[in-house]
């Protein structure tokens, strides 16, 4: 019993569960208290001690099944004794025939009912697979490792078949049949382990994980190449990100709110307690919130980046005192109202339909800036952060950079987000070089991760 569980523990550790010694001790102590011949109870004790999160539970269940069901011959215990002798003999003779290759020996051990070394062989493969950082090259390593293990399994299968047919004269056919069934089942389960590995969340909680992968994947896709379905998915991702960001912010404000002691107020209140300052008052330090003005180029490819930024900004609205947004192609229109009256995603659709903009016109940044100067210049002040999203391609018209300069003078910060690849910024009709000089900051903004970095630096 003791050995069995210790073996199970080392197998579990080999598959990556973290089990501490104290947990093993607890487990033994608890097993004393229950009727461990009753399997649900036995499993419950092991599970309660060894798998302490949903994720681990999945691995645990699989391992438990493998260890206590598949690899044991309980249904025919009476027969299993002679059979297991045979198994040992066969495996030994096979092992001596081979030069010592760790993987092959591991497979043989697995066939003999000891999965530990097989797991250890498998582990580096999947551990390397976990580093999802790089591109193709990092994927290949674990694949090759897996492949070689797979080959060893096949080799062991072949060797066994050869051995069995060679022993035709020495063994009665019933035993040969039983042995073959046993080995086939174990080989199959070894293969299954190898190929079906690493799917921690089948079914119910799949959503949470795939969210992470989803995010990783979506985060790197260029805005312009998102499919309609991905745009849908993006909203959910943004929602989650925004929620997390808000949490961080909330905690920060909670701490920051507490300023120095407000002596006056404390003393005034202490009068009620005979001059003893029972209740202390602190000066509240209101967090500095920025006012945001966005200017979005809504022509063609730029729009996709702009819509996501608007989505995020408006989701984070309480982090700013005010968000005012304008869209332009050639000529400018304020769309703040649309956002105030409608839910974010509806609003974004509405802008495309209703804003007073000539969507087919050639983009003209100069005209846009002139209109902004004429109508809205007074909304910029030292608390304002001006965010411009655009590729800076002004179709060779007057860039009017002196107006942007003036806008910069009036606002706290001017940030330009460019959804184009930096490589193309200064080519053709792009005025990026001109505009760059007038901005505090110019950032590429091609995918969700870059956008997120920007939003974080903006609110944190």
């Amino acid at each position: 019993m003791l050995n069995l569980i210790l073996k199970f523990v080392s197998c579990s550790r080999a598959t990556g569960l973290r089990i501490s010694t104290s947990e093993v001790l607890d487990c033994f102590n608890q097993l004393k208290l229950i009727d461990f011949l009753d399997e649900p109870q036995f499993a419950a004790v092991l599970r309660a001690n060894f798998a302490k999160s949903r994720r681990e539970q999945f691995f645990f269940n699989r391992l438990y099944d493998l260890f206590f069901h598949e690899l044991r011959q309980e249904p025919n215990i009476a027969q299993s004794e002679p059979l297991s002798d045979q198994v040992r003999n066969i495996l030994q003779s096979l092992a001596s025939g081979q030069d010592d290759d760790g993987a092959f020996q591991a497979v043989l051990d697995f066939l003999g009912g000891d999965p530990l070394s097989f797991f250890e062989q498998m582990q580096p493969a999947s551990a390397a697979g976990n580093q999802t950082g790089g591109g193709m090259s990092s994927n290949l390593g674990p694949m090759i490792q897996r492949l070689s293990l797979m080959l060893q399994i096949n080799a062991a299968g072949d060797a066994l078949a050869d051995y069995l047919s060679a022993q035709r004269d020495h063994l009665p056919w019933e035993i040969r049949r039983d042995l073959k069934e046993l080995f086939d089942a174990r080989l199959a389960s070894a293969r299954r382990l190898l190929t079906k590995e690493r799917r921690p969340f089948g079914g119910k909680t799949r959503k949470t994980v795939s969210y992470q992968q989803h995010l990783d994947r979506l985060g790197e896709i260029h805005f312009a190449s998102l499919t309609v379905k991905e745009v849908e998915g993006m909203r959910e991702v943004i929602e989650q990100l925004v929620r997390r960001l808000k949490d961080t912010l909330g905690r920060r404000y909670a701490v920051k709110n507490r300023g120095a002691l407000d002596v006056k107020k404390t003393l005034r209140r202490s009068a009620g307690y005979q001059g003893i300052p029972v209740e202390l008052f602190f000066r509240k330090r209101p967090p500095r919130k920025a006012k945001i003005v966005t200017l979005c180029d809504v022509s063609g490819s730029v729009w996709s980046a702009a819509r996501f930024m608007l989505n995020m900004l408006y989701s984070l609205q309480e982090c700013f005192t005010q968000v005012r947004s304008f869209v332009f192609v050639a000529g400018l229109d304020e769309v703040t109202n649309i956002f105030e009256d409608h839910e974010i995603n509806r609003a974004i659709e509405k802008i495309l339909k209703e804003a007073d903009i000539e969507y087919n016109a050639a983009t003209d940044y100069g005209l846009t800036f002139r209109q902004f100067k004429k109508n809205y210049m007074d909304i910029l002040n030292k608390k304002t952060t001006l965010i411009i999203i655009g590729d800076g391609r002004s179709n060779y018209s007057n860039p009017e950079e002196q107006i942007l300069d003036e806008m910069r003078e009036r606002s706290r910060r001017v940030i330009w987000l460019n959804p184009e690849t930096p490589y193309f910024w200064y080519s053709g009709d792009s005025e990026m070089r001109t505009y760059q000089a007038c901005c505090h900051e110019v950032r590429p903004c091609q995918n969700l991760n870059q956008l997120l970095d920007f939003i974080k630096s903006l609110v944190l």
Binding site: D26, L33, I34, D38, P40, Q41, A48, R54, R251
Partner: protein
């Protein structure tokens, strides 16, 4: 400051214990909580080893209810600490009652004059008062919050620390001390050790992972959506007037809905709500139309409702 002795919890009742896993199951069933063997085993072990239970699982599968049921069946009072972001020690442990202290100072002012009368110097007077200091920092002026309450309670209690994942990491670290030693240090009074080790439940909704240290000190229990038969039993127990045909239809439908990719899957409490509303509407037989009309009870998101409606025909038959 002690749990009121008048609420019927006697010492004898507090000494009640589960004797075996089956006993747990029967006891919980008597307290209107039907559980699987896994749950019963964990509860039994937690009691036998005096370790806290960390209960995880989707919302609404009866995590909180489990601790209530244990309290009911052991006839122990339940002390509940609801965690939230920003929960600190003064809300969870104890607070000095400054106002009461001041009031007492006022009332015993004459006495203070007696104490310091005859002191030759100011420092002598201060010394005399200092020697009486204990009078003001005694248990009389302390307001125990849930954790301290659970520790100093003269009878064994069930302590429920609800939604521990919502609390800050600092608070979690602080819980570690309390949960491993069952003692609390109050600087002015010294260390208070638990009279009886409380039966502790921590619940978590997976909104963040708990630290390994905390997990190690607890027995972990994951409660999932129940098996069909178990859920059927629960519905019949909680809503006895339901007909078994309807109950079975109901459970089958709910289980099919759970298999769909929804934002929020219906849980046991929603099953019960639904059953209750079907009873109120005097429904005898579950038809697609009835489901459509009562869908709002099960699905709490509009998108989910739409999704279920689309597949309604498939669900019923």
């Amino acid at each position: 400051m002690n749990p009121e002795p008048s609420n019927g919890y006697t010492k004898e009742a507090g000494a009640m214990k589960f004797k075996s896993v089956e006993h747990v199951r029967a006891g919980l069933a008597k307290a209107d909580y039907i559980c699987s063997k896994t749950i019963a085993t964990v509860v039994f072990l937690a009691q036998a080893t005096q370790k806290p239970v960390l209960v995880e699982g989707p919302a609404g599968v009866g995590k909180t209810e489990l601790s209530k049921a244990v309290a009911r069946s052991l006839q122990r009072p339940l002390i509940r600490l609801q965690c939230y972001e920003g929960l600190d020690e003064s809300k969870a442990l104890y607070e000095w009652e400054y106002a009461k202290q001041l009031l007492y100072t006022q009332m015993v002012k004459g006495k203070i004059d007696d104490v310091i009368s005859g002191a030759d110097s100011l420092s002598a007077a201060v010394d005399r008062i200092a020697s009486q200091e204990d009078a003001f920092f005694s248990e009389r002026f302390i307001q125990p919050r849930p954790l301290l309450q659970a520790i100093i309670a003269p009878h064994p209690v069930v302590l429920l620390i609800d939604e521990v994942d919502k609390s800050d990491p600092e608070f979690e670290a602080f819980l570690l001390e309390v949960l491993s030693d069952f003692q609390i240090s109050i600087p002015e009074l010294g260390t208070r050790k638990a009279v009886n080790i409380p039966f502790v439940f921590l619940t978590s909704n997976d909104s963040r992972d708990m630290s390994d240290a905390l997990k190690r000190r607890c027995i972990h229990l994951y409660i999932d959506y129940p098996e069909r038969d178990l859920e059927l039993e629960i519905v019949k127990l909680k809503i006895p007037q339901i007909k078994s045909r309807l109950a079975e239809q109901l459970i089958d439908t709910i289980r099919k809905i759970r298999e769909m990719d929804l934002k929020k899957k219906p849980c046991i409490s929603e099953t019960l709500d639904w059953a209750q509303s079907l009873i109120t509407l005097q429904v005898e037989d579950l038809s697609a139309e009835v489901v459509r009309d009562t869908l709002n009870v099960i699905c709490k998101y509009r998108a989910d409702v739409e999704k279920v409606k689309e597949k309604l025909e498939k669900l019923i038959n």
